[in-house]
């Protein structure tokens, strides 16, 4: 543990050294810790009937390094550890190798802005790895804003290439290779974002995205069960999918103490899923340093045409899934966050090998509760510590 802390401090010193001494923007480091647990009774691993119990511990560090007055580099590294009673059922023996897993991820992004032309552009690379897949991603973005900063438009393009190491359900391993046509997945996304200040206290933003996926879109260890066949089968989905989300946000600043953040999202895809989400967050500022962030989100969706409940698939159907994320349902998510950000920071420490100091400038804790129509319940607690290097 001491070695990890030492490595972390050395890396922060390394990033501090990358900064320009003429730069007056501080280096920012965000530590994010998250705990998530869920329980339900419709696991896709066991064909839509069985425990969905899962707990996930996640940690992430995001470092934002201003390279000069107009450009910055963002480096993020994250690690998840989860235990899952549902994925444990890939094998017939419980408490097997599939009962827990690690996932690692990284992201490197560069952003450059030109204050004279009011344009900015950037690129990023990312990657993640888990027991059964490796994913690589890259993207570009370009944005322009009006001289008074009241209007802003962004175009972004990104792509991901995933490689699966297919792990099939225990009883299907012998023949599973016949059932999939590839173990790669590709995702491309084009997004457009527009923001406008409508009035002094009212701000609107619109965003839309076109996402195209091809390759292995089913999950190799998800089972389905049939009404006209006694054994289990493998989840099968088409090898192409197009998604189209559209989102709108409206922010209204009411006095010095309230902000109303209303958001609405519409989603449709080629699996025939259509969904609508509406959310409201009302940050309440008690003072300049302390604010409370209650929020609520309602989601409703029509299910994919390939979805059937446990035991209702037909052996003659080419495609089928019992993943309840693709079913028809409504859900509620609610929670509250507390943010504390004193003007001169909370505490400070020195860094080795540099003249820089590390200051804890803000912290936020957030709790959320999620309930889905079919009985899935989940809780999330997250802690965000924001540091700056002076």
């Amino acid at each position: 543990m001491k070695a990890y802390i030492l490595l972390l401090v050395l890396l922060i010193s390394w990033f501090a050294a990358a900064q320009s001494p003429q730069n007056d923007r501080p280096l920012e480091i965000d530590f994010l810790l998250n705990y998530y647990d869920q329980d339900g009774k419709h696991s896709a691993v066991t064909g839509g009937s069985g425990t969905e119990e899962l707990s996930d511990h996640a940690g992430k560090i995001i470092v934002n390094v201003p390279l000069d007055s107009s450009s910055s580099l963002e480096v993020a590294v994250g690690l998840n550890y989860y235990t899952s009673a549902s994925s444990d059922n890939i094998n017939s023996n419980v408490s097997s190798a599939s009962s827990d897993d690690f996932r690692g991820e990284w992201h490197i992004g560069y952003q450059q802005s030109d204050p004279q032309t009011h344009r900015s552009r950037g690129f990023h690379f990312s990657g993640s790895s888990e027991t059964d897949y490796i994913s690589l991603g890259a993207g570009l973005n370009w944005a322009i804003s009006s001289a008074d900063q009241n209007r802003w438009f962004q175009i972004a393009v990104s792509g991901f290439a995933d490689t699966w190491m297919p792990i099939f359900p225990d009883e299907l391993r012998r023949d599973a290779g016949n059932l999939i046509s590839t173990y790669r997945r590709y995702t491309s996304a084009f997004s457009f974002n527009y923001m406008q200040v409508l009035r002094k206290r009212l701000q609107l933003s619109l965003s839309t995205e076109l996402i195209y996926q091809n390759g292995l879109l089913s999950t190799p260890f998800h089972r389905i069960y049939f009404s006209d066949f006694s054994g289990s089968g493998l989840e099968r989905l088409p090898d192409e999918r197009t998604k189209f989300p559209f989102a709108m946000r409206l922010h209204y600043f009411w006095g010095d103490h309230f902000v109303f953040r209303l958001n609405y999202r519409f989603y449709i895809d080629s699996f025939d899923i259509s969904a609508q989400t509406i959310g409201l967050e009302v940050p309440l500022k008690f003072s300049r340093v302390l604010s409370l962030h209650p929020f609520y989100r309602y989601h409703t969706q029509a299910g994919a045409r390939y979805f059937r409940e446990f035991g209702l698939h037909s052996i003659d159907n080419r495609y089928g899934t019992s993943d309840y994320d693709l079913s028809e349902f409504y859900s509620h998510k609610r929670g509250v966050g507390l943010r504390y950000a004193p003007l001169y920071g909370i505490t400070a420490i020195g860094l080795p090998f540099t003249k820089a100091g590390l200051q804890l400038s803000r912290m936020q804790i957030r709790y959320a509760n999620y309930e889905r129509e079919d009985g899935l319940k989940a809780n999330t607690v997250s802690l965000h510590l924001g540091w700056i290097v002076n």
């Binding site: 017939s92 450059q112 990657g127 290779g177």
Partner: protein
């Protein structure tokens, strides 16, 4: 079929090439000349043995054997020459795959079907070429996408080891470099892929793929670069 990834790559290269885009505003040149490059790191990944397919219309009907997702330990030494934005070099690497068994495609927890591939770990000796192109240069910091490719030898007890041929590897990485006069510290997220073919094949697509994904840390020494040559 329209290849989205080829299109994105072309757009990306146009956007970030040396005559336009990000690199146009490079205020200073990256360190030039020869460098000795050493590094070490960890990653995790797996070895997949594709037993192939008897039916040409089926991806795989003979099964995939695989290891668990296990750690790799990398060590490398190389010689690089950087001219303007491009670095070319040679690399010699020694990797250890910390895994000793493979799970057969029909392995079930109730009926184990696993076989050894090593006593403790599988060593790989890799040698090849390295190419880097500077994408971003800001004062001390340099960001360069990197490609390594070449051949390798391995020591393994895999049952097909005598049938191995055409062992080759590729490494895709993002080299992040911070320089002080003649020294650079380097950290690099990287994806490594290894391919092993069979001398004698029975089924279509028979062969081995090894993937790992992780982080390498290292340093570079530029002995002939001027101290104020940035």
């Amino acid at each position: 079929m329209f290849n989205v990834y080829r299109f994105c790559l072309i757009v990306f290269l146009c956007f970030s090439g040396s005559h336009s885009g990000f690199t146009q505003s490079i205020p200073q040149r990256p360190i030039q000349g020869f460098a000795i490059d050493v590094g070490s790191g960890f990653s995790s990944g797996w070895w997949l043995y594709n037993r192939g397919s008897a039916d040409p219309d089926i991806l795989n009907d003979q099964g995939w054997d695989r290891t668990s997702n296990s750690p790799f330990w990398h060590n490398s030494i190389g010689l690089l020459y950087r001219f303007r934005q491009v670095s070319l070099g040679v690399t010699l690497q020694y990797d250890l795959f910390l895994e000793d068994k493979m799970r057969a495609f029909d392995d079930r927890d109730a009926v184990y079907a696993r076989y050894p591939i090593a006593d403790n770990s599988v060593p790989f000796t890799k040698y090849g070429l390295q190419l880097e192109v500077v994408l971003l240069q800001k004062r001390r910091y340099t960001l360069s996408p990197m490609l390594q490719f070449g051949r390798f030898q391995l020591e393994t007890d895999h049952p097909q080891a005598n049938n191995f041929s055409d062992e080759s590897f590729m490494v895709f990485g993002l080299t992040n470099e911070i320089s002080w006069q003649r020294f650079s510290l380097v950290f690099r997220p990287q994806l490594s892929t290894f391919r092993i073919a069979h001398k004698e094949t029975v089924f279509r697509n028979e062969g081995h793929s090894i993937y790992n994904f992780g982080l390498s840390l290292g340093m570079r020494w530029w002995p002939f670069s001027p101290k104020e040559g940035r």
